[in-house]
């Protein structure tokens, strides 16, 4: 299983970022290989419009099964959802804790975007 977690920093000890597409980093974690990769998202984080479209589209090359963040905007959610990526709401601690919750099936999944787009 591959997880994509919005993160405030590039390590497993970084805090999960409450914003999805405007987080500074994404941590891509492979639960089988127990390996991770940090992706710099600063360009999308500062986009005027459509951060959610771009960030979620770029994540697709990593083929995530689950995206974890505090909030998902409407466009990011639509891209993730139509690509079959499940979206989980959690941003109460470190990336490593989010990974543990995913492994133990304790994440809560959302069926809708839970916040409005930026500038709306």
């Amino acid at each position: 299983m591959i997880l994509a977690i919005s993160s405030q920093g590039p390590t497993l000890e970084s805090m999960v970022d409450p914003r999805f597409a405007r987080a500074p980093y994404f941590i891509i974690y492979d639960t089988e290989k127990e390996e991770f990769e940090a992706i710099n998202n600063s360009e999308n984080a500062n986009a005027m419009h459509g951060a959610g479209v771009q960030a979620s589209q770029e994540l697709m090359s990593h083929k995530p099964d689950i995206a974890i963040s505090g909030n998902f905007g409407p466009r990011a959610f639509q891209v993730l959802n139509s690509s079959g990526v499940r979206t989980a709401l959690w941003a109460e601690g470190k990336v490593s804790e989010a990974i543990e919750l995913a492994k133990s099936n304790q994440l809560e999944f959302t069926q809708n975007a839970n916040v409005r787009g930026h500038w709306q």
Partner: protein, 284 residues
């Protein structure tokens, strides 16, 4: 035809009050006047002028429609889109219409000819008349983000008249530029407060960049501070008119009534201001 635009930088300084009363004062003195409400995100000139609307027309922009039978999901269309309006996924393409700026880039780069441009309505234009003056208003639909196409279409349909008064939106970004471009003179309505001055500076920068002749009206000129006066003096900016605060005018405004009907002075001062400007425009 003389085109005068009214802008402010800061919102709430009295743009619409000046624009509607200027239009009404000129019309009452025998001029053929057209008033264009280019504050398409929040047009409110009609509240005061109370026009009878005789025609409406739709404003549409072109957005991409993807033919998934032809699409190979190469991603070229998403890559060229500066506004991230297209997401190309493994076996699907999502177009976010509200982000699209209708540049046509995706349509041109698509190697499979899988993109068609289709119209999408984003607003409406209303045409009418009020006490002898011609009235036009643009209205952007709620939830839409792109005012300029509505303003552009509104200005394209500008009726023939002696004088056109253009009521611009607040701010100094694209919707304002679109409204004031190609006008003969720009009136900047400010107020003597630090906020009014800050935004006046931005508006002056915009006017200079566009090489538009302009002058300033200081509204509620007896409230606040002297910083706006000092700024104009130092910059060599003409103060066209100072309008002191008047409770009767404020009450009329909040009732949707015209200021120039409350006080003879109000309309007369604006008429004189027009003559002052018009003399210079024809002299140039």
């Amino acid at each position: 035809m003389i085109k005068i635009s009214v802008a402010s930088g800061k919102g709430g300084t009295g743009k619409t009050t000046i624009a509607t009363n200027l239009a009404a004062a000129l019309s009452a003195r025998g001029k053929h006047v057209a008033y264009l409400d280019c504050d398409v995100e929040e047009p409110n000139g009609g509240i005061f002028l109370k026009p009878t609307i005789s025609a409406k027309s739709a404003v549409s922009v072109l957005v991409p429609q993807i033919d998934l039978e032809k699409c190979t999901f190469c991603g070229d269309c998403a890559a060229i889109c500066e506004f991230n309006a297209i997401a190309v996924l493994k076996d699907n393409v999502i177009v976010f219409d509200s982000l699209c700026h209708s540049c046509g880039g995706c349509y041109h780069v698509c190697p499979e000819d899988a993109i068609k441009e289709v119209p999408r309505q984003i607003g409406e234009i209303q045409i009418g008349a009020a006490n002898g003056l011609k009235f036009m208003e643009g209205r952007l639909n709620i939830g839409e983000s792109q005012a300029p196409p509505v303003t552009r279409q509104l200005k394209r349909g500008m009726p023939a008249s002696d004088i056109v008064i253009i009521d611009a939106p607040p701010g100094t970004s694209c919707p304002v530029i679109e409204a004031i471009s190609n006008t003969d003179y720009l009136i900047l309505v400010s107020e003597p407060t630090p906020f009014g001055l800050n935004d006046l500076r931005l508006a002056v920068g915009m006017a200079r960049e566009l090489k538009l002749p302009f002058g300033v009206i200081i509204n509620r000129s007896d409230l606040g501070d002297n910083l706006t006066e000092d700024y104009c003096k130092n910059e060599g900016i003409e103060i066209l008119l100072r309008i002191p605060f008047n409770r009767k005018i404020a009450e009329a405004y909040s009732d949707g009534r015209m200021a120039c009907h409350q006080s003879d002075n109000y309309g007369e001062n604006l008429y004189r201001l027009y003559e002052n400007i018009a003399g210079r425009i024809t002299n140039d």
